[in-house]
């Protein structure tokens, strides 16, 4: 009860009730609840039509300069990140495809194995979704194969969005929640926020890692 209400109750006769704050709280809850419901609809929108095939990023091979010595990777950026990272559906599809296309074979649920881990904060070829999509599409030296022409472009972006969620870069309400099977680490939506990005000491010392 608000202080204004308490004063009025004290001022008036005993047993008098103040109802107005209750009503306004109820109305506020209803409005906030509705707003949350509407926001939740946006989170799950599922576009099924495939984007048009003619796509600039698919036509030209994206080269990423491989610097010897210190100096971070070039961060690529485009307007497409939002469609994939701001949709729980796209990130969840990326999670399914991560297993389907056997990314697990080398990156083992993001923990790394034959390939580098994806859940830490070291990124040899850049941490933006564009960089990661380029790594999947074109492949990287020392083992990462190219999936150009094999995985459709929108699925590459879904996978890239999921890889970002492995490092905690995707908003918590968009990242996938816990697995059906046992997992040694917290679900993607329970990861701590990533630390500020550091440039790797020497990009050539590591293996090809998106």
């Amino acid at each position: 009860m608000s202080s204004a209400c308490r004063e009025r109750t004290n001022g008036i006769a005993r047993g008098g009730r103040c109802r107005r704050p209750g009503v306004s709280f109820g109305a506020a809850f209803a409005i906030i609840g509705l707003a949350l419901l509407l926001a939740a609809c946006q989170r799950e929108s599922r576009p099924f039509e495939t984007p048009p095939p003619a796509d600039a990023s698919n036509d030209e091979i994206a080269m990423s300069p491989n610097h010897p010595g210190p100096g971070g990777p070039q961060a690529a950026s485009s307007a497409r990140w939002e469609k994939y990272e701001q949709s729980a559906y796209e990130v969840a599809e990326g999670k399914r495809l991560f297993t389907w296309f056997n990314c697990n074979g080398c990156h083992s649920k993001g923990g790394g194995g034959m390939g580098p881990p994806l859940m830490d904060d070291k990124w040899i070829y850049g941490s933006s979704i564009e960089n990661i999509a380029a790594s999947v599409r074109e492949g990287r030296p020392n083992g990462m194969p190219t999936f150009r022409g094999l995985i459709p472009e929108d699925q590459i972006w879904q996978i890239a969005a999921y890889v970002r969620s492995l490092g905690g870069f995707v908003r918590k309400d968009m990242a996938p929640s816990r697995d059906d099977s046992l997992s040694a680490r917290p679900a993607e939506n329970r990861l701590p926020a990533p630390r500020p990005q550091q440039a790797p000491a020497s990009p050539l010392s590591g293996q090809g890692k998106p």
Binding site: T50, W100, L150, I151, P152, D154, D180
Partner: protein
Amino acid sequence: MKPSRSLRFVCTAPVLLVAGCSEWQSALHPYGENARTTLSLILSFAIICTIVWILVMLALAGALLRRRSNAEGLRPPLETDPRRERGFTRMVGSAVAATVLILVGLTIASFFAGKSNAALTGKEMLTVRVTGHQWWWEVRYQDASPSHTIISANEIHVPVGEPVKIELDSGDVIHSFWVPSLAGKRDLIPGRPSEITLLVDKPGVYRGQCAEFCGYQHAHMAITVVAQRPDAFDAWRKAQLADAVPPAGAQQRRGQQVFLSTGCVLCHTIRGTPAGGTSGPDLTHVASRQGLAADTLPMTRGALGAWIADPQSVKPGAKMPRVDLGPDDLNAVVAYVGSLK
């Protein structure tokens, strides 16, 4: 007097509904031992419940229409007549006794139907493992020797007159295996394998359907059961064991090249080629099946072209993405996949 329009509608609608039930997917047309037991159970429940309903409605109508006698109107409302009260007690008591008897009788009938359905278990000669996926069925004929295991999809072939064990499991969410003409439903629960026995007594094609809502394309998740005479079944099994036929002609060879160098190869297996993906259905003998995409489309060249060109317009939400192929490549792939008898 001419019958009114609404009366005519009321008369024709049930006739149309009954005509809509074709025999190949109908629990009212049983072609197997289990389905016959289930049908007799359905009929006994329906008949008994109809009789009970009619009796209750008659009693209700009698109570509503009964005229009050004058003597009754004059009596004070709380006064009781011991003779009438005894009659009422007898009526209510006998109705309760009849209800209990009917419920116990139906329970016993249901128990014996379940028992007779379970009696086939353990006598099977053949085991088929069916795994549900969103939204198709993976079919695997188990054999002691791994080289004799057949992997197929969306179509089960069974020999007539032999009990066949269907082992059920799911790869993602809960599905339910239901071929109404052959047996009742059985759920496919991830991580909890279950089984059901089919015994078909007449050669033919029977349609089944996923009976547990499993996502966007649940309605397009059908399975076909082809019952054959044992010799025809053995011939089919031998044909399925063979590797895929090599491409004949330039167009089919190009189709195979395109298949192996684009997205198709990531998810599909064609035995006898390097294609070994297991996320999608095995396509080694895809053209020998009757339907496409879990019986969404018939297996024709046109339907195959439409499906490969843009699966999302045929079955929105299906896990098969569109692979961007030029018109010539698309024709070549359709020719090649269509040749995989």
